[in-house]
Symmetry: C2
């Protein structure tokens, strides 16, 4: 039990509010990106690859907090959409790498603009101090709680 909560004031659960707001924000974003033929999860994967040239599926799984199987399926869909290419790793016969195609790379800024617009829609009305605090706190949770170790696989 948290020191600041009791079972009686149910609406005070931060996890509840986080989920509620996050679901709405993601749904709104999903609607924006679907015109470009991609989903939110696909965008997240593409974004991981933007600065990286190429990444192993297992590496992506760790970063995104998903299993390797889930990444495989996500990658399949992006490959079918010609956003991604899979290639064998010459150094290790078991390994594969995933990289953006030029089409995929070209799409990222458009999606990023939509993400900007979505952020603006949900967060621009906040005082800039609150907006900064929200970002800082979320990052702190990720860092302190070491979020990324979830998928046991």
């Amino acid at each position: 039990m948290s020191s600041t909560h009791s079972a009686s004031d149910l609406t005070d659960h931060l996890g509840y509010w986080l989920r509620y707001v996050s679901n709405h924000v993601s749904q709104a974003f999903a609607r924006k990106v679907e015109a470009h033929g991609v989903t939110v999860a696909e965008w997240v994967l593409m974004r991981q690859l933007l600065d990286e040239e190429a990444l192993a599926p297992s590496h992506l799984a760790e970063r995104m907090g998903m299993t390797r199987g889930a990444i495989s399926k996500l990658a399949d869909r992006l490959i079918a959409k010609s956003m991604l290419v899979r290639a064998a790793d010459p150094k290790d016969g078991r390994a594969q790498t995933l990289a953006l195609t030029s089409a995929g790379r070209a799409l990222v800024p458009e999606l990023a603009a939509l993400a900007d617009a979505n952020d603006a829609e949900f967060f621009d009305h906040l005082r800039s101090k609150d907006r900064a605090a929200l970002l800082r706190i979320l990052r702190e949770i990720v860092e302190k709680r070491g979020l990324k170790s979830l998928p046991v696989d």
Copy 2:
């Protein structure tokens, strides 16, 4: 475009961090409640009914930001688990009401305790000022953005 973001610093999207943290928190909570045979979405529905005696499916759909069809299916599962009962509304032959069974009502505090524990796990390390700020900001977003009107149906 938000005034505080550009397409180049992609990791600054609040929506991204919100989603990332929320997914981890919800997944951890899902693991805790599954021992009691319910899912997170089921818990949210049960919780809506705790203070209400009985609600119409359409009312729940509006509150939870889901379609009526989705509520129907969720309710089916909870009824199969004997947590919920469906009853005809005597005043309107079309209408139904959903209410917790005594077993359902008895389970809520146990789930609430798990929610407390989950919250503690993810948020207790924050300074209490930050914890309060997070709750306040999330609530403000819900209020100002009027979140609940999403499902068009």
